[in-house]
């Protein structure tokens, strides 16, 4: 009995001893760091890697050594010493420039080589293209080296920090006139969310230090295309002064206004709005025609390209000639009948029908407006057309009468006033089931302005029989130059 107990106790001891000794080691082993590479952070590993001594120096000089030693994950594309030998000493000596330069090689998150093509945000705010075994135009020499907090690749070439299209334009002297216009569109914007509040006024509203909240914005970037944006890619055409003047003179007659300044502003806007494009088109990839943001076809004559510059968000081409075709610059103006601005003062909404119809000529559905038997003399539907260039226009409409074969009513187009004989175009009989465009005559707009168009019915009232009717699918104004 006693012996048995002793054996039991002894056995228990042996088992627990074994357990303690073996367990410890197993536990330690299973999560012990066996790979020295992940024992250290990115900076430590880069500084130990042969051939990256210069880049490590720059990391220290710019403070990036601390950042990439942090707890976030990074990818570093480190140019080797041979590559950095050709770096401009001016950059090395200027810490601010050097910081932008080094930051152009580091991104957040881990990116292994061999992935699909993509643009990745760098720590300096720029985007670089990665994909396969390349980093922008550099080749990855040694790929996928890892550290505790990310990945680094050794590359054979440094990638300078490029200006973006807008920055390039500002620093360039290739197109003084165009640049002057662009810069003239700058304005100061007060942003309360970043301003320092200095107190509260008597009404309880916050008072800000205006200097701290002022941001510089640009109308052109906001209204046309933000080529200052790093995330997306753009192509910008800069015209040299000679060509800018040529095209300017071509356009300025169509922007007659009361003052030189406003004509100047309008012409410059109309010219430059079609010089920015979505997408990065390098010289080799440029087609012979580009479509601008506003849908205008822009002829690209390659021999006229003086120089092409890569930017951080696309390409800038300096051109000696962009020969705009006026018919593309000034496409026809369409005014849809079913979107009137107003009607004659008397309410005839009970006689007004917004219809949907099928047009056998175009083989498409269309919407129009029909007013039937409204019983009012000189009734009109008014359409406000904004920003009409100063030129002559040939006017057309599609007006489909599919409601009555007899009588066929008449209607006419007038500008500016509903009762001025001088600006009325002649009455036109609306034929039965005519789905084609009908020519109405010519309008002469002498100044760039907003224009009121009137579609007018007969001059005498009639309550039945369908004499008092107006129908409009659309009005089309084709520039006659």
């Amino acid at each position: 009995m006693l012996l048995k107990k002793r054996i039991q106790i002894f056995a228990g001891l042996v088992v627990s001893a074994l357990a303690f000794t073996t367990c410890n080691k197993k536990w330690d082993d299973h999560n012990a760091i066996t790979d020295a590479a992940v024992a250290n952070n990115l900076y430590q590993n880069i500084s130990k890697t042969a051939g990256l001594s210069k880049f490590s120096q720059y990391l220290v000089a710019t403070g990036y050594d601390k950042i990439i030693a942090g707890s976030k994950t990074y990818t570093v594309w480190a140019p080797n010493d041979a590559a950095l030998a050709s770096l401009d000493p001016a950059i090395v000596l200027d810490t601010a420039k050097l910081k932008l330069f080094v930051g152009n090689h580091i991104s957040n998150q881990s990116y292994l080589s061999g992935g699909a093509d993509q643009r990745v945000a760098m720590l300096n705010g720029k985007y670089n293209r990665i994909g396969g075994s390349t980093f922008d135009s550099a080749n990855i020499v040694t790929a996928n080296l890892y550290a505790a907090n990310g990945i680094y690749h050794v590359i054979d070439k440094f990638i300078p920090r490029y200006d973006n299209c807008w920055e390039f334009m500002k620093n360039s002297s290739a197109s003084p006139l165009q640049k002057a216009y662009f810069l003239s569109q700058d304005y100061n914007f007060f942003d309360a969310s970043i301003a320092t509040q200095t107190g509260v006024n008597s009404l309880g509203f916050p008072v800000y230090d205006t200097a701290s909240g002022t941001v510089k914005k640009n109308h052109f970037l906001e209204d046309v295309l933000d080529v200052n944006d790093e995330k997306n890619q753009y192509t910008l055409i800069l015209m040299n002064d000679a060509s800018f003047t040529t095209e300017y003179n071509k356009l300025s007659p169509w922007f007659k206004t009361g003052t030189v300044d406003s004509t100047n502003k309008l012409t410059s806007f109309w010219l430059t709005k079609d010089l920015v494009f979505k997408g990065a088109f390098a010289f080799a990839q440029l087609p012979d025609t580009l479509l601008s943001v506003s849908g205008v076809k822009v002829p690209i004559n390659k021999p006229s390209i003086i120089a092409s510059y890569k930017t951080s968000n696309g390409w800038v081409h300096v051109m000696s000639k962009v020969d705009f075709t006026l018919t593309y610059k000034f496409p026809p103006i369409y005014i849809q009948g079913e979107t009137p601005t107003s009607f004659a003062t008397t309410d005839r909404s009970a006689n007004t029908f917004y219809r949907v119809r099928y047009n056998p000529v175009t083989a498409q559905n269309f919407s129009d407006i029909l007013m039937q038997n409204y019983n009012y003399a000189n009734y009109f539907i008014k359409y406000l057309v904004r920003n009409v260039a100063s030129m002559r226009y040939n006017a057309f409409w599609v007006a489909v009468n599919d409601v009555q074969t007899t009588p066929l009513w008449q209607q006419r187009l007038a500008i500016d006033s509903s009762n001025s004989a001088a600006t009325n175009l002649p009455f036109v009989t609306v034929a039965y089931q005519n789905y084609n465009e009908v020519s109405l005559g010519q309008l002469n707009i002498t100044n760039y302005r907003n224009v009121n168009l009137f579609v007018m019915g007969p001059t005498t009232a009639s309550s039945s029989g369908g004499n008092n009717s107006i129908v409009v699918d659309y009005i089309k104004l084709v520039p006659a130059f």
């Binding site: 009970a350 029908f353 917004y354 219809r355 949907v356 119809r357 559905n365 039937q372 409601v403």
Partner: protein, 596 residues
């Protein structure tokens, strides 16, 4: 000393425990469960019978999702969205594997088995004099008809299925082939027609003021009047499937004439009042008030797109939105509501809504094109029923018929995302009219079919429609034809006529679209037009696949069905279109794999 004491205590405890266990156990087991009934607690009286019927319909509602998905997604009007999983995609592309949950016949057999159990017990109750003959007949016929309907669905989708009419302990017993041989679809139809013809009572549950049953009442704010299957429409459908066209037309006619819908009247026929001229008659619009079920515009502004009646309380859209009022009763024969107040949950919000749902299914391009190639009476180049059947919401085409009780009627945002209100749509007058026309057409009455499809009897049988002040005694009727094709649609002043069918304006009249130009003596052309109309009127309501299968089988023309599905996939840009067409050219591939 201590040890001994403890040992004694232990022994004592053990004895005590054993004692309690033995004595108390009996009592525990004897206690009757609070949430379940034992067999001797059911089928004691007519109220138990009613509870059993409500119960089986409750279980039947669980089939809603499977029923709609199978009947619509396999056909040509519904398509998958990018969110749909592989099971739905396989159904869409007719590449269904045996383990596809939508291809599982077991849920159908579960309800059938409940029906079988109820039918068996009803007979026992009758033998034990627990309810009267009349009570038995009404209830037995209802459950029997529901079972037929379920078997018809099984036949349509699985083709060859075992026909089980015995009450089974478990569904697995269906697998026993020696007891329940698998019947080909055609033989199954024979069995169903034979059984349905023996049902003793074909009318709805009485709901008049003098005679009523406990089944027609209000539950959770819903009237149960049209919760139950309509036997006439089922009998018509079974005979239509079987090719007994005159018989089918007769059943549909009885339904359209309200046989049994008003027990207060002397002969059981619904008489008097406007409701009689409107209910199940596809009647004309109330152009002044727009309080109707027709596609309509504000009066005198019929040519204005902005005056289209597009709300939950008026016009064609309200068929799917309005509460169970008189107008609703004019159209619906069988529809069961889903509510957040009771189970099961409405599955359709998840299937169709892109707001609060998963948006798994959408209208097919082919379906949209169907509507957009119609012309309305006012010249608008689209069928407004399309506007109400689906709608662009957040840039996505959304099937709307099931969402009008869930989304707000004007903003189309969920009224309450957690309250998934809705309805299961099963049968309505428009479907009955199309089926009646189909039967009539095949029975050599093409012009009757033409009238039902297009602008109604009054217009079709009038040589000069629209003229007033005539003697209409000899026009606007088909009284020279034998029943069920003899209709009186006369509408005249001197002498005054208001025929039973004078308000009928046909399906396309109700929908305000121009009539289809079709030669009424060409049975195939008329039938094609009827199936085309089905796509415009009844899209997404769970009828489509059955329609295609029935006509393709009747004509022995697999291309009729295959081309429709091919066209859908082709228009959707689905690369499988040609493969699917080739597959569906073989009839055997129309059916789902049957795996119990």
């Amino acid at each position: 000393m201590k040890a001994i004491k403890i040992k004694k205590v232990r022994v004592a405890l053990l004895c005590l425990l054993t004692g309690t266990a033995i004595f108390s156990c009996n009592k525990i087991l004897d206690k009757t469960p609070e949430t379940a009934l034992t067999t001797d607690q059911v089928y004691r009286n007519v109220y138990d019978a009613d509870a059993a019927i409500v119960g089986v319909y409750g279980k039947f509602m669980g089939l809603a999702k499977q029923y709609i998905v199978l009947n619509e997604l396999r056909a040509d009007l519904m398509d998958v969205t990018l969110n749909a999983n592989a099971d739905l995609r396989d159904l869409n592309e007719h590449n269904v594997k045996a383990d596809n949950p939508y291809a599982d016949p077991r849920p159908f057999y579960a309800v059938i088995n409940n029906c079988n159990d109820i039918l068996k017990n009803f007979k026992i109750m009758l033998a034990d004099k627990k309810f009267t003959d009349a009570e038995f007949q009404q209830r037995y016929s209802d459950v029997g008809a529901l079972r037929c309907w379920l078997y018809l669905q099984l036949g349509i989708h699985w083709g060859n299925v075992p026909y089980v009419t015995d009450a089974l302990e478990t569904i697995d017993a269906v697998k026993d082939q020696s007891k329940f041989p698998v019947l080909p679809f055609n033989q199954l139809l024979d069995s169903l027609v034979a059984f349905a013809n023996t049902l003793p009572y074909n009318k709805p549950y009485p709901s008049g003021a003098t005679i009523n049953t406990g089944l027609v009442t209000s539950y959770d704010g819903f009237n149960t009047k049209r919760f139950f299957i309509d036997k006439y429409s089922l009998l018509g459908d079974l005979n239509l499937w079987k090719g007994n066209y005159a018989q089918a037309a007769t059943y549909y006619r009885k339904l359209m004439d309200h046989d049994g819908y008003d027990l207060d009247s002397p002969n059981g026929l619904y008489t008097g009042g406007e409701q009689f001229f409107k209910e199940f008659k596809m009647n004309f619009a109330d152009v002044a008030s727009n309080n109707d079920l027709c596609v309509g515009y504000i009066r005198f502004k019929e040519s204005d797109i902005n005056s289209l009646i597009d709300n939950n309380g008026q016009g064609w859209r309200s068929i799917f939105a309005r509460s169970q009022d008189n107008l609703w009763l004019q159209q619906w024969l069988w529809s069961i509501p889903f509510s957040s107040n009771f189970n099961p949950e409405n599955p359709f919000v998840n299937l169709f809504s892109n707001n609060g749902g998963s948006y798994l299914l959408k209208p097919s391009q082919a379906a949209m094109d169907n509507w957009n190639t119609q012309t309305q009476a006012n010249g608008f180049p689209f069928d407004a029923r399309g506007n109400f059947s689906w709608r662009m919401l957040n840039g996505q085409p959304v099937i709307m018929k099931y969402l009008y009780n869930y989304l707000d009627g004007t903003s189309f945002l969920p009224i309450n995302p957690l309250k998934k209100e809705g309805r299961l749509f099963l049968e309505r007058a428009a479907d009955v009219h199309l089926h009646f026309a189909e039967a009539a057409n095949r029975d050599g009455r093409g012009k009757i079919a033409y009238a039902f499809l297009n602008n109604g009897l009054g217009t079709t049988y009038d040589p000069t429609p629209g003229v007033t002040g005539r003697d209409v005694t000899n026009i606007m009727n088909t009284l020279n034809l034998p029943y069920p094709y003899s209709f009186d649609a006369r509408n005249g002043e001197v002498p005054r006529y208001r025929g039973d069918w004078y308000q009928n304006v046909g399906l396309r009249g109700v929908a305000r679209v121009n009539p289809v130009a079709v030669d009424s003596t060409n049975a195939i052309a008329v039938e094609n037009a009827l199936i085309a109309e089905n796509a415009l009127e009844l899209a997404f309501e769970g009828h489509r696949w059955g329609e295609l299968v029935r006509v393709a089988l009747r004509r022995n023309d697999p291309a009729f069905l295959a081309d429709k599905v091919y066209n859908k996939l082709l228009k959707a840009g689905n690369g499988q279109a040609a493969t699917v067409r080739a597959k569906l050219m073989n009839k055997n591939n129309w059916y789902l794999p049957f795996k119990m």
